[in-house]
Amino acid sequence: MTKPHFKKLFGALVATSIQFGTLGFAFADTTILNVSYDPTRELYKAYDEAFVAHWKAETGETVTIQQSHGGSGAQARAVIDGLDADVVTLALEGDINAIVTKSKKINPDWRKKFENNSAPYTSTIIFLVRKGNPKGIKDWSDLVKDGVQVITPNPKTSGGARWNYLAAWAYANANDGGDEAKNKEFVGKLYANAPVLDTGARGSTVTFAQKGIGDVLIGWENDAYLALNEFGADNFEIVYPPTSILAEPPVAIVDANVDAKGTRKVAEAYLGWLYSKEAQTIIAKNHYRPAKPELVDAADIPKTPEIKLISIDDPLFGGWKKAQPYHFGDGGIFDQIYKPAQ
């Protein structure tokens, strides 16, 4: 190889870098970024499409919605660290409160901004078991039996996992007369049956459905139906326990960011339209529970068994501001009961 060859190589490298450097990204009229949690990918994919069409029809403007998905806690952390979200649609109130207190980018009274405490949809926690339910799992008490492997994510990193934990806690509390020591023992046994704690709800679903680990998955109602659709009803069955938790995943405008970018109008419309008939129908079809079911045709709401749902605002938990540090903070109840498998 002679010197000119080498020069050519060098020249090509430089030329390539210049070419790619000028590519850049094309932006539509307005772009807003929705930072969301893991299981909402399919929901927001459908909703974004509908909203873009709605906004175009209403105002004539073209809006582009960007999506970012991940574990709810990790996503909140990214927004605190400067991820330029216009709106956040997270798994629980505690994660939005973290943005409020740690970065002050969201007004403290964000819950009053939209109806139903800014939760346009609710969900609950149910079980997914293998076809034929070989371990006969019907209720929370079946999860602590010997030889049952439970798949649930880590409540330290996953919003969904915290709902799972609280649902188990609520069951235990109702069945042992409110004795906290017994609650701890029950939930401790449940986590002793968990061979692995994934960092996010979607990771747990993949562990259970795709990797074939465990006898029962505790997870989001919508994620269970999605897994059922993806992997076929001949592989799995959904089990509704008689009691569970009422999960209210909230939405909020990231005030500091929309004011800096001048996107407040479209961001507010984006979240506000979640309460419309069209959006509530999309929500129902994606196996979330619409906040305004009266707007949705009865045929579009999936039939689910009636089960008792306990709210986070129940005196048992006293809301997220109390429950978060008490159960999931450093040295909280979860830290006391969970011992990783040896």
Binding site: M1, V14, G21, Q66, D81, V206
Partner: protein, 294 residues
């Protein structure tokens, strides 16, 4: 004159070969172990990647690669590599030059520092940039006031990639340049070449193979980096997802074909790198051996 040389050589050779020559079965066993190991841990996973990617036919494969989000992930990965690799070439040559050809205080420290990215977990490499450029970070306020977005955008991804890949070029060049010493350069200078001419016509041709190896390795890693990039990416679909991040996202969406299609591109890139390296070695084997010294 010839006799004594042979005599002194023979016994040495005999004793050496007796010590290293295992019996035939042992040789076969060792080879079988090596091949089986490679087949199970390297070849099989690679085949599975392509098998999964083509599980639903070639049409589904090309279709998943033409998805806009996938295309943008491919574009971003190429862009990041196209910035990070040239930067590391410049840095690698300067660092290797300084360390191999000059004596200065802090040289040992500089050498150790270059190795840092090898010993630091990529997640930490990413978090370092969050601490520096994040909204709560050291420069966060200043960057925001000046409307500069580094984290969760292309600059942050490039920075994280440069960080994890910067030892590759320097590490290839330093031993090479040290071994070659200053002789050729001194000769060139004494014959009247200026500094630039010395570099371009003497030093660079001497190290070109090492440099090329470094560039290949650097490029492969910068396209494949996951951990550090994941921390600084923000995971915005179609904007800040590189190919490795996009593979994870598609997999978590139960889109196995899409995930493995992108994975097969990355694997294909690795194969191209390997083939390129082998071809160069075959074609210029003697020359490489001469300049690399081994």
């Amino acid at each position: 004159m010839a006799d004594p040389v042979i005599k002194s050589y023979e016994p040495h050779h005999e004793s050496r070969s007796a010590a290293v020559t295992e019996s035939r079965p042992v040789q076969l066993l060792l080879m079988a172990v090596a091949f089986a190991f490679l087949a199970i841990f390297l070849l099989l996973p690679l085949i599975i990647v392509f098998h999964e990617a083509l599980a639903k036919g070639f049409g589904a494969y090309t279709e998943s690669l033409s998805n806009p989000d996938t295309r943008s992930a491919i574009r971003l990965t190429l862009l990041v590599a196209a910035i990070a690799v040239p930067l590391n070439v410049v840095f690698g040559i300067s660092a290797a030059w300084a360390i191999a050809k000059f004596e200065f205080k802090g040289k040992a420290f500089l050498t150790t520092l270059i190795d840092l990215p090898f010993s630091v977990s990529p997640v930490i490499s990413g978090l370092v940039y969050v601490l520096l450029f994040g909204a709560q970070g050291l420069f966060g306020e200043w960057l925001r006031a000046h409307g500069i977005q580094i984290l969760f955008a292309v600059p942050g991804i490039v920075l994280a990639t440069v960080f994890v890949t910067f030892p590759f070029v320097a590490r290839e060049l330093i031993p090479l340049m040290q071994e070659q010493g200053n002789g050729d350069e001194e000769a060139a200078l004494s014959l009247g070449a200026n500094g630039w001419q010395t570099f371009w016509y003497v030093t660079l041709p001497n190290v070109k193979w090492g440099l090329l190896y470094g560039v290949l390795l650097c490029n492969a890693r910068s396209m494949g980096e996951f951990g550090a990039v994941s921390v600084v990416s923000g995971h915005i679909r179609g904007l800040t997802n590189t190919m490795p991040l996009h593979v994870e996202i598609l997999y978590n969406e139960y889109n196995a074909v899409g995930a493995f299609a992108v994975a097969s591109l990355l694997a294909g890139l690795a194969l191209v790198t390997l083939v390129l390296k082998t071809l160069l070695e075959m074609r210029y084997g003697a020359e490489i051996a001469a300049t690399r010294g081994h």
